[in-house]
Symmetry: C2
Subunit: 331 residues, 2 copies
Amino acid sequence: MQQDIITMVHGSGGSATSDLIQEVFASEFKNDTLDQMEDSAVVTGGSKIAVTTDSFVVTPPEYKGGDIGRLCICGTVNDLLMRGAVPKYITCGFILEEGVKLDLLKRVVHSMAETAREAGVQIVAGDTKVVNGSGEFYINTAGVGIVADDVDIKASNACDDDVIIVSGTMGDHHAAILSERMEIDTNVTSDNAPLVDIVRNLLSNNIKVHTLRDVTRGGLGTVLKELAKASGKTFYIEDEAIPVKKVVIDFCGLLGLDPIYMGNEGKLVAIVAKDDADKALDVIRNSKYGEDATVIGEVKNDNPGEVILKTRIGGKRSIDILQGEGLPRIC
Amino acid sequence: MQQDIITMVHGSGGSATSDLIQEVFASEFKNDTLDQMEDSAVVTGGSKIAVTTDSFVVTPPEYKGGDIGRLCICGTVNDLLMRGAVPKYITCGFILEEGVKLDLLKRVVHSMAETAREAGVQIVAGDTKVVNGSGEFYINTAGVGIVADDVDIKASNACDDDVIIVSGTMGDHHAAILSERMEIDTNVTSDNAPLVDIVRNLLSNNIKVHTLRDVTRGGLGTVLKELAKASGKTFYIEDEAIPVKKVVIDFCGLLGLDPIYMGNEGKLVAIVAKDDADKALDVIRNSKYGEDATVIGEVKNDNPGEVILKTRIGGKRSIDILQGEGLPRIC
């Protein structure tokens, strides 16, 4: 390709499209299945499979600690993991506005390939479209994983006296994106990471995991409220126990943001049986990306669907999902 | 929701996003799996699965004979069928530019739901993002199907003396979109359709199907050339045999277009063993959307990777894939 930007001809379905696919995507994502360039990939399945999708529109596309390429693989892999699946296959659809810089696209695609290798997934199918616009691009990923027959992890499974664990500090991704966008110089880096190791270790150690949920858009507050509603239980959370980095606390203080509603891209909430709590915490802390795991609360049933935050000064505050004011385009 | 257009707040991940999802998507796509609103859908799989993805950016989003909603389900279902899979699950990612009209979005979503029912697939996972822009929207769909253990249909499988069948007339979708865009008043309507019935009937009648490919962007010429290259065979095609509607021939004549490179969204090429040719043609013609099926050529091996078109006046012309001049945003 001679040009250094994407033009409408790259979306024609003809030889320019074919060149783009070969030079930018196929060379990075190379594997036996994708290389066949069929209408769909035929792969080994399992009797129970998990299926998910997500679109990524983050601005800016590259930021401290990651980029939209790493983000899209992590997001989809993590969504599969939250049902206890072993992530296996990823599809990706690129929507490129005219004017996308080819060198940026190549860096993002390289990052996707690297993150897919880290997460142990194969990119088995893809699609590219070109649209009018101003040089931005969007990536949609879908994922398929295999779920073992005896695994049943879902939002409604939380039980009385279960323990609520978060796998690490809150708000890092959100603060990193916002810093870039506002051109504030901070040390905060995005947490975007595939949580494969944490989930694999929880399952292989036979820990009674009832619910898993990655803490993304909407933040911890939104996720906990959704899980409390889905299970009909009451979640009691200790504000003081929620891990937040000093730099993120300072950043939030400066802008009047609440860390409990800040988005993350490499953190999960695990709700586990009380008698497995210590073991679960230990397993997560010894897994990649889980070193700051903390117990933040417990499950009761006195106020169905409620999340009650015990504040540092002894008060109680009911937590709802994020209202309309959330920051768009952080993931 | 009070507003009649999409605004950035619909993409915040908070309550406005949740309202949009409930009111526009969940109500139309309703099924037990989707209703769980989990990070991923856990569904029944199979030992061999097909996985595919496609993004849809068609302009205009509604046209004679269909809309982007029908198109995105058909496109993904057909890609699964081309490997002999039974299409089962669809995921959809919506990228909405600020300013999308809600009533248009609702019509498109309704059309997706109707087409999914026709094709026998469930929409099991979805995602919505909002971006800046001028009121356009894009849909990415991914699909999963189950492949029977004894089914092996792929591009490289074409054998000497196989017969090449197309399931109907060429160019209808492309001409319909172009008519709308150029505001030319024609009777041509898009062919967008799910080819479930054709493929199911071919397989259930034990026809020796070697290769299937839906004839989309790039047209019949591009598809045949790709299949000839993948199989290392020579395809001899009779120009006179290629079915094209009179209205499409006239339309192409007017604009100097070649029907062989016009895109379709409800047609396939089937390459079948010679001794099954009559039966295959009969089965396709008796299937929904296959009534105009025609044998257009045969497979030889004297010029590996070549597609040779025998013209009406007795000449021969080598067919290549569509070069850069194809029309973008027709699918």
